[in-house]
């Protein structure tokens, strides 16, 4: 592996971040141009709503993939992209929400309230969005300091629940062809399953602390990764 990938310099990280930022903007740009040029098909509102929803789901999964990728590739700087990816998940979720509230329902609050109360798939999607708001709001370094690392982390673990809700939201709205939601569910199951597996490994390791080795006269210090 080239050295700059293993341990990029500060400038290289900044460049990488900028590149990822623009890559993440591309779907939005594509949709905005499609809307302006009238190339989103016969039902552009549906296209926009669906695409922004699917990109939300994709960014949630990409964000959740950062830890496993980092762990198995050894590229620790990947972690420095995670906040941005998470914020893009929120941005596409907000666009999806606005497409629904504004373009689809045109601020018909009575119809929207009915939808949320009567239709589980809307309620679940709405809940996922509402839960995502505090995560976006506490994404800054200052917020981490204010909350304290531990509280911040337990708050941000709700992203697991949010991703599950998002997949259910997609699953329930499909008429008959469940292939796509199934693929998203499968990827999410792998990403969450890995975390459960890591916990299990950690538990086993802590249970099986080896007896002190005889040839060492100093106590063994084990560094346990959180």
């Amino acid at each position: 592996m080239p050295n700059f990938l293993r341990a990029p310099s500060g400038a290289q990280i900044a460049l990488l971040k900028a590149a990822v930022f623009f890559a993440c903007l591309l779907p939005a740009l594509d949709l905005a141009l499609g809307w302006r040029n009238g190339t989103l098909g016969a039902n552009p509102i549906e296209t926009l709503t669906r695409a922004s929803g699917e990109w939300t789901l994709r960014f949630l999964l990409i964000t959740l993939a950062v830890s496993p990728l980092r762990r198995y590739s050894g590229l620790h700087w990947l972690l420095r992209l995670r906040r941005m990816l998470g914020l893009f998940a929120f941005t596409y979720a907000a666009a999806h929400f606005m497409a629904y509230i504004w373009l689809d329902q045109f601020f018909d609050w009575r119809a929207i309230a009915h939808d949320i109360l009567d239709r589980p798939f809307i309620a679940v999607g709405f809940a996922a969005f509402v839960l995502l708001v505090p995560l976006a709001a506490t994404s800054s370094k200052a917020a981490i300091r204010r909350l304290g690392g531990r509280r911040w982390q337990s708050l941000h673990r709700s992203v697991y629940a949010i991703a599950i809700l998002a997949v259910i939201h997609f699953w329930w709205l499909v008429k008959a062809d469940l292939l796509k939601p199934f693929i998203y569910a499968l990827i999410l199951a792998v990403l969450l399953g890995l975390r459960a597996w890591w916990r299990e490994l950690e538990r086993r390791r802590q249970l099986s602390v080896p007896p002190p080795a005889k040839h060492l006269d100093r106590p063994v210090i084990r560094i346990v990764q959180k």
């Binding site: 045109f106 939808d115 239709r119 798939f121 008959a176 062809d177």
Partner: protein
């Protein structure tokens, strides 16, 4: 494609037509894929000549009809109908066709025939193999619905032969019911005593009923049917009872609870 000569019909609406491009590129024809654009991309693989439609079951003179014979069975009419999809969008489509009643009369239904079943083309070589619905796609009507003057077999669109993605060479159009009732690319019509099983009802009976009449007051379990988006428009418009054909068809359902028989 050949122009079809068709007489204007007093049963047509004078509402603005949905564009040809939208009508032929935004389709539900699951045999060719579940994305709206899939049928336009894939349906060209289907060959619609030769084509026969077999009419069988409880009829005095059951028989098969070649497609050219069907095109001459009755004078072709242009029927401009509203089309309301169960998903919440709608179009105004200039169909060319003839009353289904004309075909049924040709086979002389027996008195015991109470329902009409429609089976459609299925060829796994060119169509989806995943069993999203049970193939071949089946639909059905009550005999009085089938004989209603609004119910037509369409063979054309915008004055030309039907494009494959719209259900060539012959399809049903029942304008007061959700679009999925209007089976595409029909190969078999059966006259039955009992109500036939239908494709969407087999898959999700609590969501799709046999009648599937457009009804703003009866929600789909997962979305409201009170409004619809007319393709080409931004704001939604209210959905009309029986898709605006209540005057002609409401009497067919007198005394029926439309919440039970959705």
């Amino acid at each position: 494609t050949a122009r079809l000569s068709a007489a204007a019909s007093p049963l047509s609406t004078d509402e603005a037509l949905t564009g040809h491009e939208a009508v032929t590129s935004y389709n539900n024809f699951y045999e060719f894929g579940t994305d709206k654009g899939d049928p336009a991309r894939n349906a060209h693989r289907m060959s619609t000549r030769p084509w026969t439609v077999t009419v069988e079951g409880l009829a005095a003179r059951p028989r098969s009809f070649g497609i050219d014979e069907l095109l001459k069975l009755a004078p072709l009419e242009e029927r401009i109908y509203r089309l309301r999809c169960v998903e919440g969008w709608s179009m105004v489509v200039p169909w060319v066709g003839f009353p289904l009643a004309a075909l049924l009369k040709a086979v002389e239904p027996l008195g015991s025939a109470k329902y009409v079943e429609f089976l459609t083309h299925y060829d796994p070589e060119i169509m989806l193999r995943r069993p999203i619905l049970q193939w071949p796609y089946g639909e059905g009507l009550r005999m009085d619905e089938a004989l209603h003057p609004l119910t037509i077999l369409a063979v054309g669109l915008y004055g030309e032969l039907l494009p494959n993605q719209n259900g060539a060479p012959i399809r049903l159009v029942v304008p007061w019911k959700y679009g999925f009732k209007s089976a595409k690319s029909i190969t078999t019509i059966r006259l039955l005593e009992r109500q036939p099983a239908t494709a969407w009802r087999r898959t999700a009976p609590h969501e799709y009923g046999f009648y599937a009449n457009v009804n703003p007051d009866v929600s789909h379990p997962r979305w409201s049917q009170a409004t619809e988006r007319r393709i080409g428009e931004i704001r939604k418009r209210p959905t009309l009872m029986f898709n605006g054909y209540a005057e002609q068809v409401a009497s067919l359902y007198q005394g029926m609870d439309l919440r039970t028989y959705y």
